[in-house]
């Protein structure tokens, strides 16, 4: 497809690959006169702006030159890495002159743009090339067999590659080798090509087919293969491109006869060695594969000949061609349609002409129709073969469950013969684990929930707490699982009963003791008057008298009032007691109204039992005291509400410190939802670990609430549900699908959670449990064939429930799914026919060198291909060394299998570190599996060196080598350990039969499932002897019904063994033993 065009009869040079943006320099051609026969010359620079849809090229600069050019190249000499415009334009002139221009100065509009000039040559300088290894070296060729090598650093004195060839002839082309920097080739219209070695300073080989018809118009080295080059002939009698290999220089390796008339120019793509452009006097521009001779593409051109053609070095799909009709056209070889372009032009036109009636004729213009013929013309097919640069060789994509699918394609030489050689193309599925700490903490949490060891868990957390607050939170949580939780809360708030008692005693002693001693005698005399002594009932008019009168008349109320009035509080209260409840209450009220002491309000609240008042109006600095009071006095039914209230007040306070304390109140209240809200507000909840912090607390608190308040904790608030599903998502993203499922709240219909649950279940390869219509996470949209269905984009309720579809539910499973959960061990072999040995010896597809390898023109692979790409002849695939290292006690048979380098099954390295403990009864296998294409040999096993169990492993990709398929079919448990299984299962059965409540039963059922982990380990014989012994001891104690002994042994094992080795089953075993002990079975 044509992208741009410029009306110039000119030589052209693209800016070097480093340059951004892309420029095209044009210099007036010396050989072709344009239609005006003007002899003016200019050097112009255009920018290739692909975001501009028009065909025009943006001119950046024009420099009027006194020269016309036979050749023009743009070298990257002294170009900085940033790719600013620079480099050097090198022009070959008519009279033996070579001129160096500074393109940046041309663009800047400078007058002085010539860097240097030299006219040492004889005749027109037609041939120019820059050495790609040393960009300061330029080769030029002119008449009289003249070839000069110019050093741009020292431009005055050129070198020669050797003695001139005889007879003298014009040099029409010159080219540096693309692989070996000191090799140069030149060619002349006579048809001879000469290869020069600059180190030897002489021609080393001459290439000619002796037909005398090769009239060399083009010469190009193979971009990759050092010994190959092509020559193009301008002669109409022999319009060919010859491919030569200098190792067989007697005749061309291949002759491309695709042009009908002489070829004027060629260009070999540096981006894809299978693309060679040629243009000829048959007015064709062809793109062929010089390695096969096949024509891949014919550019749609007009009938004009092109005399120059160039690939754009930076944009591999772009090329430019200069034609004799005075036009330089820029094409894309990726095909495509010019409709867009045309449409744009049409749009532009119509916008220029305004609306439908531009000329005011009263007649609207007929709608513009793009002529029909464009339809067939404009669709330009792309290259027959996709160019190398669009073939994506590598990729890595994430998928659900933190799996990373990666594939890569071994870079191989695109050489004839090599293509047939099939390479293994594995696809790997790896588990990406980035949050190790998060996972292990989550794991612990789950175990705690399983084993109900909340107190010790909390204690551990308290001990590990970094901050006082954290410690408090965990202390509060712990209290929930202890007796006398309120008392313990008080202690935590600093009100230890014993301490207080002591303090009070101390206080009393201090104040009272001396007084008491001294006053004792006095008191007796004063306060205990001798009996029988009369007293005077005064009825005088003073207060005393009035009180007396009131009392005598039984008017307690007035008496109390009088006392109060006289500030005789004690009297008033005592009288009020006598006057009955009502009066007492009123008196108390009046007392409190009068009293101003600091603690009055507390006393008020205590006496009036008005805790709400305290909680609502206390100074929040005293939140501890308020909470303590609530803890001490509040009735169970109002306790939570009061704690809540206090928490809410704290939370709404501006003080951040107080806000966090609200969490403690919510813990006391057992209000999970509010705890979540408060915590989220106070903490940065975005990181996995801070979410873990929260979830730990929430889970523990929920358990506590379940235990202490017997509340239904299954109801999950919106916020909590969100957090929990976030948490589950994180777990899933780390590959812990089973754990994610376990933490996902159950009784909720929130769509995101239901969807996540569905996704998790399926990811595990299970059917979705308890599938009810209400739980279907999304409507199934049918994509029927010829059958009406719901419109896409409208989430309609499907009326027929049967259409609510689950892939594994109603539809008969596709053949592959019959394997559900039971992988056919032969599947791999069936699919991947193996041919041991085939892979491992890779003979280079070209002849091996017979001589020392220091010659530049040795076979390409040996001096050109970087070492790392080289495949030794006797290549042996590395032996996976996982199992022998990792599993010293492992099954020797499997090890042997794995050690055979060309074992027929390629997928043969076992997961090399302990399977992560994934609760929930699901064995989750991290997998990495090479998938082959059919007819493809299986990939050989790669070296696999993993961290030893417990060894520090980087916190990134946890790579789990695929389980060999035969491993999936379980091996039997060794006979000597079978007793363990029978004993444990028997015990669980016994427990089950005597357990009454469903919760216990569920626990036991789960335990039974989870003990599979143990049985798996027994099968694999991966447990250490101490653990095995210990397990046998437990089994024996079970047989003697001595469960407490069993528990002791259990504790011993756990404390002495590697956590990761036992964590999968030991907690469960403990649960079983505890239950058995409790049930006394």
């Amino acid at each position: 497809m044509k992208l741009k065009e410029v009306d110039r009869t000119a030589m052209q040079a693209w800016s070097p690959a480093q340059n951004h943006p892309i420029y095209l320099a044009t210099g007036t051609s010396a050989q072709q006169l344009d239609a005006t026969f003007s002899t003016n010359a200019s050097l112009e620079i255009f920018e290739l702006d692909l975001s501009d849809p028009s065909l025009d090229m943006k001119s950046c600069a024009t420099f009027s030159s006194s020269h016309r050019y036979h050749n023009l190249i743009w070298g990257p000499y002294k170009m900085d890495s940033k790719g600013n415009v620079s480099g050097v334009l090198i022009a070959g002139g008519e009279n033996g002159n070579i001129i160096l221009y500074d393109p940046s100065k041309i663009i800047a509009g400078d007058k002085e743009v010539v860097i240097a000039q030299n006219d040492k040559h004889t005749g027109p300088v037609r041939a120019l090339d820059v050495n790609i290894f040393q960009t300061n070296l330029v080769a030029s060729g002119a008449n009289e067999s003249e070839i000069y090598i110019w050093d741009l650093n020292n431009f005055a004195t050129p070198m020669t590659p050797g003695a001139k060839t005889q007879p003298p002839e014009d040099i029409s082309c010159i080219a540096w080798n693309r692989q070996v920097q000191h090799i140069l080739a030149s060619a002349s219209p006579s048809g001879r090509a000469t290869v020069w070695d600059l180190r030897k300073n002489e021609p080393i080989i001459k290439v000619s087919d002796h037909s005398n018809r090769m009239h060399c118009s083009g010469l190009a080295w193979h971009p990759d293969v050092a010994t190959q080059m092509v020559l193009a002939s301008e002669d109409d009698r022999l319009p060919v491109v010859q491919m030569w290999d200098l190792r067989f220089a007697s005749s061309p390796l291949r002759v491309l006869e695709n042009h009908a008339r002489g070829i004027l120019a060629i260009a070999w793509s540096m981006a894809d060695p299978e693309l060679l452009l040629s243009c000829g006097k048959d007015a064709k521009i062809l793109c062929s594969n010089p390695n096969t001779g096949e024509v891949l593409y014919e550019l749609p051109t007009n009938t004009q000949w092109c005399f120059d053609i160039q690939w754009c070095p930076r944009n591999p799909a772009v090329l430019s061609a200069a034609s004799f009709d005075g036009r330089i056209s820029v094409y894309s070889i990726m095909g495509g349609s010019a409709d867009g372009l045309r449409q744009k032009q049409v749009d532009k036109l119509s916008s220029s002409f305004g609306n439908l009636d531009p000329f005011g004729t009263g007649q609207p213009l007929p709608p513009l129709q793009i002529p029909q013929q464009t339809a067939q013309h404009s669709i330009v097919l792309p290259l027959k073969k996709p160019p190398k640069w669009i073939r994506r060789p590598v990729g890595a994509s994430f998928s659900f469950g933190g799996k990373l699918v990666t594939f890569e394609n071994v870079r191989m030489q695109s050489q004839q013969g090599a293509e047939q050689q099939q390479q293994p193309r594995p696809v790997f599925i790896s588990q990406v684990v980035t949050e190790k700490e998060f996972l292990s903490r989550s794991d612990q949490l789950q175990q705690v929930v399983q084993s109900q060891g909340f107190v010790s868990y909390c204690q551990k957390k308290i001990d590990a707490s970094q901050t006082e607050f954290e410690k408090n939170v965990w202390s509060f949580l712990k209290v929930n699982f202890e007796d006398d939780s309120r008392g313990k809360y008080l202690e935590l708030l600093g009100y230890r009963k014993e301490d207080l008692g002591k303090k009070i005693a101390l206080a009393l002693n201090k104040v009272d003791e001396p007084d008491v001693c001294i006053k004792e005698g006095k008191q007796e005399s004063e306060f205990l008057p001798p009996a029988g002594r009369t007293f005077n009932i005064s009825v005088s008019g003073d207060i005393d008298g009035l009180i007396t009168q009131a009392l005598l008349t039984g008017n307690f109320e007035s008496a109390v009032d009088l006392c109060l009035h006289d500030n005789r509080m004690a009297d008033a209260i005592i009288l009020a007691i006598a006057g009955g409840q009502e009066l007492l209450a009123r008196t108390q009220k009046k007392y409190f109204a009068k009293s101003q002491s600091k603690i009055t309000r507390l006393i008020t609240a205590v006496v009036m039992k008005n805790w709400k008042e305290i909680v609502e109006s206390c100074d929040l600095k005293n939140w501890r005291e308020a909470l303590a009071a609530v803890l001490t006095y509040a009735k169970p039914d109002e306790f939570s509400a009061l704690c809540d209230l206090l928490g809410t007040r704290l939370e709404s306070e501006g003080d951040i410190l107080l806000q966090t304390q609200a969490c403690l109140c919510y813990i006391c209240a057992g209000n999970v939802e509010k705890l979540v809200a408060c915590w989220t507000k106070a903490q940065d909840g975005s990181s996995p670990l801070s979410l873990q912090d929260l979830i730990e607390k929430v889970v523990i608190l929920r358990k506590a609430v379940q235990l202490t308040q017997a509340m239904d904790t299954n109801t999950v608030g919106v916020l909590l549900a969100e957090k929990m599903s976030q948490y589950a998502n994180l777990l899933a993203a780390q590959g812990s699908i089973a754990a994610a499922l376990a933490f996902l709240p159950e009784n909720t219909n929130q769509p995101n959670i239901v969807q996540l649950r569905d996704r998790l279940c399926r990811a595990q390869g299970q059917p979705v449990p308890g599938q009810e219509s209400s739980k279907i996470p999304y409507e199934r949209q049918q994509l029927p064939k010829g059958r009406p269905g719901p419109m896409a984009g409208h989430t309609q309720m499907s009326r027929v429930p049967a259409q609510q579809y689950y892939p594994h539910g109603e539809n008969p499973p596709p053949p592959g799914f019959i394997m559900h959960g039971n992988v056919n061990p032969n599947a791999t072999t069936a699919q991947l026919p193996t041919s041991p040995g085939h892979l491992h010896t890779q003979v280079p597809p070209y002849p091996q060198p017979q001589r020392p390898q220091n010659g530049w023109n040795d076979p390409p692979a040996l001096n050109r291909v970087p070492k790392k790409k080289k495949i030794p002849e006797n290549f042996m695939p590395p032996v996976p060394i996982t199992s022998p290292i990792m599993n010293p006690l492992g099954d020797p048979q499997s090890q042997m299998l794995q050690q055979q380098p060309s074992a027929p099954l390629p997928l043969s390295s076992q997961a090399s570190f302990p399977q992560p403990h994934l609760p929930g009864g699901q064995t989750f296998h991290g997998i990495q599996q090479p998938l082959g294409q059919p007819g493809m040999p299986p990939s050989f096993s790669k070296p696999n060196i993993e961290g030893a169990p417990g060894a520090p492993i980087g916190n990134t990709i946890q790579h789990v080598q695929s389980l060999p398929t035969e491993k999936i079919t379980k091996k039997p448990i060794p006979d000597e350990h079978l007793i363990l299984k029978t004993t444990f299962e028997d015990l669980i059965q016994r427990c089950l039969s005597s357990a009454t409540d469903p919760q216990t039963k569920r626990k036991l059922d789960d335990a039974s499932k989870r003990l599979e982990f143990l049985y798996d380990k027994l099968r694999e014989q991966t447990l250490s002897p101490t653990i095995i012994n210990g397990l046998h001891n437990i089994a024996r104690s079970i047989e003697t019904r001595n469960y407490s002994e069993g528990l002791t042994i259990h504790t011993h094992i756990v404390s002495t063994s590697n956590f990761s080795e036992t964590s999968a089953f030991m907690p469960v075993l403990k649960v079983v033993l505890t239950q058995a002990n409790k049930l006394g079975v």
């Binding site: 095909g335 495509g336 590598v394 980035t434 399926r762 719901p790 296998h925 389980l963």
Partner: protein
Amino acid sequence: MIHDAQMDYYGTRLATCSSDRSVKIFDVRNGGQILIADLRGHEGPVWQVAWAHPMYGNILASCSYDRKVIIWKEENGTWEKTHEHTGHDSSVNSVCWAPHDYGLILACGSSDGAISLLTYTGEGQWEVKKINNAHTIGCNAVSWAPAVVPGSLIDQPSGQKPNYIKKFASGGCDNLIKLWKEEEDGQWKEEQKLEAHSDWVRDVAWAPSIGLPTSTIASCSQDGRVFIWTCDDISSNTWSPKLLHKFNDVVWHVSWSITANILAVSGGDNKVTLWKESVDGQWVCISDVNKGQGSVSTSVTEGQQNEQ
């Protein structure tokens, strides 16, 4: 040569496509690998595959150098071609399904410079919208923005179709990343041009939404650069690029983890690296699969390298 490998929504099936013109589907549950289907229909190398959301059934789209996009569907256990889109004039390089909330919509980017959008309208019919000349010389990648509605999803009155704003990003041979938005009249309009790369944009990946107001796009290019583009305020629509890294070779592919916190970058040097944003907003490489080879202390994806 494999050109793409994608797992389905659940991570239980793997689809691969290759220059041998085939699309293959494997069941990879429980560490197994069972070839379920070998789909033939393309007449050139197949560049990409994309799974539709399972609510629409088991549907896979593939695109190829043969200028075709084929939509495959599993019906009663058999995979069959259900639709073939031949609206492009050159290699179709990228396919991407829109968020499932919008219905079945597939965006396809082609070397002819156009992007086409196929919308399933029921009864086996697909409506085609085409954005011509989206990227001169070719579009290399398309990636949809996650479905985000202004306001919370939970508060949406039930039954009412949320007012989604559909957007996607594309990258192409004009070195540009373009953001496209569906106008109210259903036409797609270029909303934004993101310019930072100095060579072909090889891939763009719009990060999944994790409930934050920030939108994030990763892009990679022939120039070896990977940029992370962020837009904090979708209404202002100002995007700022941050250079993740400049690699020494072309970077072909970028992929976000489901939780959008890890970016996998795969480059022409056959390296896959994983990147994560640190607390201070810098992107750090958390895994270089080359680096760890042979080392016990770093657990790596072994077998990634074939360099011997």
